[in-house]
């Protein structure tokens, strides 16, 4: 029902995106949440049990953008992964990258400024384009991301380092001199400086090929309509008519996305199995309980963006048959409470630390479903990163603001309030503003925060607005930012600690609107450390550096993390389960087959 998309807000409330990246580690071995529930993914199928049939995935909302060059959202990746072949993608069931459209892993020069990628032969576009994919198609795909007609959200962040990448966005796609295509199967990137995550970023959907001759007519409009006419390079394509349009055919906004086989896909060029003949993403389901029960009854096969609610999880876990179909995947990031460090009272570090002490993280976790929902977070890099930053940050042992049972320590908090200048440890200033979601669980989180703040005398005024309003009018706009934005969090684009810490905490990323550095943290020491780490090509050195940065950021208490979330995915007994470990456990239709 209406409020049920609070559960979908699980994904939406924190604008979460996960990409893939890095090598595997403890992320894929048995890891335990605080409830003793395993987060091991299902074994990745190596062959189809049956070929054919239709898969049905249920979801609440729609993709953020249907254009693969614009998509920046975990649910969208459930569509782009089977239809668009990026240069690299994650090995099934892991977060390790392997060549996808690329013929082999990219070669990086010693100085890190030249990256060479070979394109696989024999990959063809779907109808109506049909021809073979060349390096020029990948070049164009990346170039179009910089134009305002396409406006990709991460192009500048990860690919801005390419020579010739525009500093101010052109209106329509323009060539970038730093991307060279010496022959149809070779791609060379010339960078202005080394970038540690550049190769990992080649797994983002922006690198999936786009045929310029076909797409130009759509991209040369103020707002590109290529998305509604897109062609695919993967085993599946969004159903289209003869002219290539998907609107009303395979794409009914907020209702249905229908994938059918790409007739030009050659299975010998791909690691994907592609067992089913058709995949239907049916959208608009507001009630997570109904979705869960529909999947359990076999009328649908997996949840796309609307996880089973805690009550359902309990009943599923208590059944020996049903619990076999439920899997938890670490999302890779953290949820946190952002404090505005540019306005009183939280411009005072002691006041912030007082808040970090007084917050009852246990109660906060209960608003999202208790221990089954994940581990209480004490810093930002998530446990699934293992030795790629998590351990370097001190693991679960690093907790600068400890309290008994994570329920908050009012005494310590009051001490720090005294240090901040409040005589008896109780706040004496004006009301603080909190802008929160108007639906649960975001609204519940805000309520808990307000109740905890009251323990040190801070009275809060909760402004309860829709999601869209919260972000675009308040929390993402530094000028209008309230004292507290409680419903924020960050998921990494791929499995590199930079992707967790850089955008949300680097001072250079503060922009006047659509800002994601919610605490407006601008600490010169931390900024410098991040800039150094971004250029460190050696992985172990890099993870050391980011581990330390995680600790530094946590100690500023400008944002207080409270949950490393595990995302539940439920499959029906009718299918062989497979999920994307690098994308919050989203169902991987490339490997699911009907039993």
């Amino acid at each position: 029902m209406l409020r049920a998309f609070g559960a979908a807000a699980l994904v939406g409330a924190t604008i979460l995106v996960a990409g893939c990246g890095g090598s595997s580690s403890s992320g894929e071995s048995e890891s335990q949440t605080a409830a003793g529930i395993s987060t091991a993914p299902p074994p990745t199928p190596t062959a189809c049990e049956t070929k054919g049939g239709t898969l049905k995935i249920l979801s609440a909302g729609d993709v953020d953008h249907i254009d693969p060059g614009q998509g920046y959202y975990s649910f969208t990746y459930e569509i782009t992964r089977p239809t668009q072949r990026a240069l690299l993608s994650a090995k099934p069931g892991t977060v390790e990258l392997q060549p996808d459209l690329a013929a082999g892993m990219p070669q990086v020069s010693k100085d890190g400024k030249t990256v060479t990628v070979k394109i696989r032969q024999g990959v063809h576009f779907s109808p109506p384009v049909n021809r073979e994919v060349t390096s020029a198609d990948v070049k164009y795909a990346i170039e179009r991301g910089f134009a305002t007609s396409v406006a990709n959200g991460y192009a500048a962040a990860y690919f801005g380092v390419i020579q010739g990448a525009p500093k101010t966005a052109p209106q329509f796609p323009e060539p970038i001199s730093g991307i060279e295509t010496p022959d149809p199967s070779t791609l060379v990137f010339h960078l202005t400086q080394p970038e540690a995550v550049f190769v990992t970023a080649l797994s983002m959907p922006l690198t999936a090929p786009v045929p310029e001759d076909y797409a130009k007519q759509y991209d040369d409009q103020t707002l590109s309509t290529y998305g509604l006419h897109q062609v695919a390079s993967g085993p599946y394509m969004i159903k289209s008519n003869a002219a290539g349009s998907i609107n009303g055919v395979g794409y009914k906004p907020n209702r249905l996305i229908d994938l059918v086989r790409n007739p030009n896909w050659d299975s010998s060029t791909d690691y994907r199995l592609a067992c089913a003949d058709e995949v239907r993403f049916e959208e608009g389901f507001q009630d997570p309980t109904v979705v869960a029960k529909t999947i359990l009854s076999g009328s649908a096969d997996a949840n796309g963006d609307i996880p089973p609610p805690p009550a359902e999880l309990r009943s599923i876990l208590s059944s020996s048959t049903e619990s076999k179909e439920l899997f938890f995947t670490p999302t890779g990031g953290a949820r946190y409470i952002a404090l505005n460090t540019t306005e009183p009272p939280f411009d005072n570090a002691n006041a912030r630390k007082a808040v970090a002490y007084v917050l009852d993280r246990n109660a906060l976790r209960l608003t999202r479903g208790g221990a089954v929902d994940g581990t209480i977070a004490t810093h930002f890099i998530d446990p699934s990163f293992g030795d790629k930053g998590f351990e370097q940050a001190g693991g679960t042992g690093f907790n600068p603001f400890p309290s008994p049972d994570f329920s908050g320590d009012v005494t310590k908090a009051k001490e720090l309030m005294k240090a901040a200048g409040y005589a008896d440890g109780m706040y004496t200033g004006p009301q603080v503003t909190v802008v929160a979601d108007n639906v649960p669980p975001g609204s519940d989180t805000a309520k808990v925060v307000a109740a905890d703040l009251a323990k040190i005398g801070i009275k809060s005024r909760i402004i309860s607005v829709t999601h869209a309003t919260m972000y675009t009018k308040y929390c993402n706009v530094p000028k209008n930012e309230p004292n507290i934005c409680p419903n924020v969090g960050w998921l990494p684009d791929f499995h590199e600690p930079q992707a967790i810490l850089d955008v949300p905490f680097n001072g250079k990323n503060i922009i006047p609107s659509n800002n994601s550095n919610w605490p407006l943290l601008n600490d010169p020491a931390i900024n410098a450390a991040m800039d150094r780490a971004e250029k460190t090509l050696d992985p172990s050195k890099r993870y050391e550096q980011w581990g330390k940065i995680d600790q530094q950021v946590t100690e500023t208490a400008s944002a207080i993390p409270w949950l490393w979330e595990d995302y539940p995915t439920l499959f029906s007994s009718r299918v062989v389960p497979a999920l994307m470990v690098d994308n919050e456990g989203a169902p991987d239709v490339d490997f699911m087959s009907v039993r």
Partner: protein, 355 residues
């Protein structure tokens, strides 16, 4: 002798009494062809068009002038540069003054019937509304049938058997139905009857709506609960209204006269009472239908029916301005048309109304 004369007289058309039979139809026909009726209809239609303009202007004022969220920022997505957002704002025309935007929008609407393109996914608002219209029509029409078929007979029965047990029961039930919010009733219904989570599993639950063309059986059964839940309050309201009207009418002098003349009770009621009692009901029914066709937001929400009402609500939540404008205009259109149809019908039936 005098008895017969008066019954005949009561059937002859008279200026003040209830219009009767053939003669009235003949006069009405003359009226339609005549200029006064035509003038009336034209006047109402013209005023309806003016109303639509005013409604669209007000909508612009409420939603565009005070947007709850920033559509350009929403469209730009995460980590977009401010420059990008400004460019998107410019390409969406949002940096123009409100009256400019209004002018451009109205030009598109009037000249091309173009309701614009959704800020959320760039799909045409018209196509979205049209694709969701069948669900809303199905829900509304079905509920309409149910509430008329239930409410009117119940009201008549209760009026005839006034103060009996039947009457008290039905009126009590009606009061309950009017007092319960439709979303609460919907939840109770789901809890009791839905196949997936209900106690007695025999009807499809929320979200099971399928279009008529793909699966007629499922379509029908998935709409049963929504029809009855939506119709409940209306049926109750109409039952009460019909009962009240009929009791009023049955107390009128001419009814007493008819009774005194020895006409059978049934004839009294059916011939004379009902016509007068039901005319205002027809009016209300038309108006209610008009309002509901704009989208029954609450029912569509509880039962997850992909109709226009739900679309309107979602677009307000997402500050999808063209979609908001489109759905508001759409709803207003049906309300205005319903009003015109009902007024014209009334004028048809009672020429005094055509001032």
């Amino acid at each position: 002798m005098s008895v017969h004369v008066e019954t005949e007289a009561s059937r002859r058309p008279s200026p003040g009494g209830p219009p009767g039979g053939l003669a009235a139809a003949q006069r009405a026909l003359a009226g339609v062809l005549g200029s006064s009726m035509l003038r009336y209809v034209v006047r109402r239609i013209l005023w309806g068009i003016v109303l639509l303009f005013v409604v669209s202007g007000l909508t612009f004022l409420i939603f565009y002038a005070f947007p709850a969220a920033d559509p350009a920022a929403l469209r730009a997505g995460r980590q977009a540069t401010p420059q990008l957002i400004e460019q998107i704002r410019h390409s969406l025309g949002l940096d123009k003054p409100v009256y400019d935007q209004y002018w451009l929008y109205m030009k598109g609407l009037v000249l091309h019937f173009d309701l614009g393109y959704s800020y959320e996914n760039n799909v045409s608002v018209t196509s979205q509304i049209l694709s969701r219209l069948p669900a809303t029509i199905a829900l509304t029409a079905g509920a309409f049938v149910v509430w008329m078929l239930v409410g009117i007979p119940v009201g008549i029965l209760s009026a005839i058997k006034r103060r009996s047990v039947v009457d008290r029961t039905t009126m009590g039930a009606s009061l309950l139905a009017i007092s319960a919010p439709v979303y609460w009733l919907g939840l109770i219904a789901l809890l009791l009857f839905s196949q997936d989570i209900g106690e007695l599993h025999f009807l499809p639950g929320a979200g099971s709506y399928t279009p008529l063309t793909s699966d007629p059986t499922q379509w029908f059964f998935s709409l049963l609960m929504p029809w009855f839940v939506l119709a409940a309050a209306f049926a109750a309201f109409y039952a009460r209204m019909v009962r009240g009207n009929l009791i009023d009418v049955l107390g009128e002098d001419y009814i007493r006269t008819a009774r005194a003349k020895g006409l059978s009770e049934r004839r009294v009621i059916l011939r004379h009472g009902l016509r007068a009692a039901l005319t205002p009901v027809v009016t209300m029914a038309g108006l209610d239908l008009g309002v509901l066709l704009g989208g029954a937001i609450l029912t569509e929400t509880v039962f997850n029916i992909p109709g226009v009402g739900r679309y309107a609500y979602d677009s307000i939540i997402n500050s999808d301005l063209p979609a908001i404008q489109g759905t508001v205009l759409f709803g207003a259109f049906f309300i205005i048309v319903a009003n015109i149809v009902v007024d014209v019908l009334y004028a048809f039936l009672d020429p005094r109304v055509r001032y």
